[in-house]
Amino acid sequence: MHFDRALTIGSSVRMISPDSKNCAETPEALITRIAGTRDRAAYATLFTRFAPRIKAFVMGQGMTAQEAEDLAQEALLNVWRKAHMFDASKASAVTWIYSIARNLRIDAARKAKRVRELPEDLWQGDGDKAADEQIVDTQSAQIIKKMLDALPPEQKDILRLSFYEDLSQSDIAKTLSIPLGTVKSRLRLAMTRLRTAMDGKSTGVKS
C-alpha cells in the first residue's frame, strides 16, 4: 500500500537550505520576548516562520490541510501560553516547538481513534506525560542538525521516511522494498552516530 511512496519522497518533502541570513532574530530570542513582555510582534514573526512548516510536517504524516492548519494554530498558541516555561539557556527553541507539535499530533490521533472505537466513551487523558521533558539544548540541536547532513544517503532516507511520513520500520521496509533487518541496522547506525556526537560535546556532564 506504500508502493508509490518512494517515488514521491523527493517531491513532497523537499528540503530547503536554512535561510539563516533572513532570520535576524533567533526563535529563542523571540520566545524570550514573548515570555518577558507578551510581545505580539515577536509572536507574529514566530508564527509566520513556524506555522507553515508545522502544517507541512503533519500533512506529510497524513493529516488533511485543514487538520494540519488547525494543529499549527494550536501549536503556536501553546508556544504563546507556555513561553514562560521555555528556558533559552537550556533548550533549543526549534526542538521545543517540534515537541509541542508532536504531542498535539499524537493526542489528536489517539482522540480520533478513541472516538472511532469507543464512541460512547468520552475522551479522557491517560496520564501520558509524553515527550515534553525531552529538552534538547541548543548546542546538541546544532550538532544533530550538522550530523544529519553528513549521514550517508541511505541512512538519511530512513530518517526522512520515519519523521516526514510517520512510518514504522516495517512500513519503511515495504516502501523501499528492502528487508526489515536492513532498515533496523541503518536506523541503528544513524542513531549510534548521532548519539555519540551528542554525547561527545558534553564530556562527563551527562545528567
Binding site: 507553515p52 508545522i54 487523558g125 515534553d132
Partner: protein, 222 residues
C-alpha cells in the same frame, strides 16, 4: 546501577511517534523512567525532528491565519492548564514498600490476587487497551519458581525490583525484555533473596505449558 537490557530502536521509535498500544506504551515509559540511556535516544529523536522541521519547506497557511492567531492569544484561557504531573492514583496497600517509577504512580492498579503460593498479580486498567491484551504487576516471592509457559504474541517485562535470569541473561531494576512465539520455553528463574516485582504487558494471553499452568490459567486469568 542502570539497565542493561533495553527496548530496540524500533520499539523506541514507535513509542516516540505515539504508535504503541497502551500496555506496550506503559512498559516503554516505565523503562524510560529508569533508563537515562534510552531517554537520550528520545532526545536524539526530538533533535532530529527539530532539525527536520527547521529545514522543511512550509505549506502556506490560509490568508486569515495570522489574524486568527493574533486574536486567539487575546482570548482568556478558558480551560484550566492541564497540570503536568497527573495526580497520583490511590495506591493499594499491598504496594507499600515498593518503589514505583513515576509512570506507574499515576496508573490505575487494581486489586491483586494470588495465582500460586507466593505469586500475585495486580491488573492495570489502561484506557483503550485491546481486549486480548493484559497489563499487570507481578510479584514473585524470593525463592519461588514461575510456571513454565510459552507465548502467543509479544510479552514485555520491565523489572522493578529483585533479579531473575533466563536464557538471555540477568535482569534487574529497569531491565526491559521482550519475548514472542520464537521464545519457545520461557522459564525465568528468580535470583537472590529479594521479592521480584515486575511490570508485564502481553499482547495476547500466555499459554501455560505444564499441567500446573493449565490448572492455574482460569484462576490467573492469564
Amino acid at each position: 546501577m542502570s539497565a542493561i537490557h533495553h527496548p530496540g530502536e524500533d520499539l523506541l521509535w514507535d513509542y516516540f511517534r505515539g504508535a504503541l498500544a497502551p500496555g506496550l506504551r506503559l512498559s516503554v515509559s516505565t523503562h524510560l523512567d529508569l533508563c537515562p540511556q534510552c531517554r537520550d535516544d528520545l532526545r536524539v529523536f526530538t533533535a532530529i525532528g527539530g532539525a527536520l522541521l527547521e529545514t522543511t519547506e512550509g505549506v502556506a497557511m490560509s490568508d486569515n491565519a495570522l489574524d486568527l492567531a493574533l486574536a486567539r492569544i487575546e482570548r482568556p484561557v478558558d480551560l484550566p492548564e492541564v497540570s503536568d504531573a497527573p495526580a497520583p492514583a490511590r495506591r493499594p496497600a499491598f504496594l507499600e514498600g515498593f518503589e514505583l517509577p513515576p509512570s506507574l504512580q499515576s496508573a490505575e492498579i487494581r486489586g491483586r490476587y494470588f495465582v500460586a503460593p507466593g505469586v500475585w498479580m495486580a491488573p492495570i486498567a489502561l484506557p483503550g487497551e485491546p481486549r486480548a491484551a493484559k497489563t499487570y504487576l507481578m510479584c514473585v516471592k524470593a525463592g519461588m519458581e514461575m510456571p513454565e509457559h510459552t507465548h502467543r504474541g509479544r510479552e514485555i517485562t520491565v523489572m522493578l525490583q529483585g533479579q531473575y535470569r533466563d536464557h538471555k541473561g540477568l535482569y534487574q531494576r529497569g531491565d526491559f525484555t521482550q519475548c514472542d512465539e520464537a521464545d519457545d520455553r520461557h522459564m525465568p528463574v528468580m535470583m537472590g533473596d529479594v521479592d521480584c516485582l515486575c511490570l508485564v504487558a502481553q499482547e495476547a494471553a500466555i499459554i501455560p505449558k505444564t499441567w500446573l499452568g493449565w490448572l492455574l490459567k482460569p484462576i490467573a486469568r492469564i
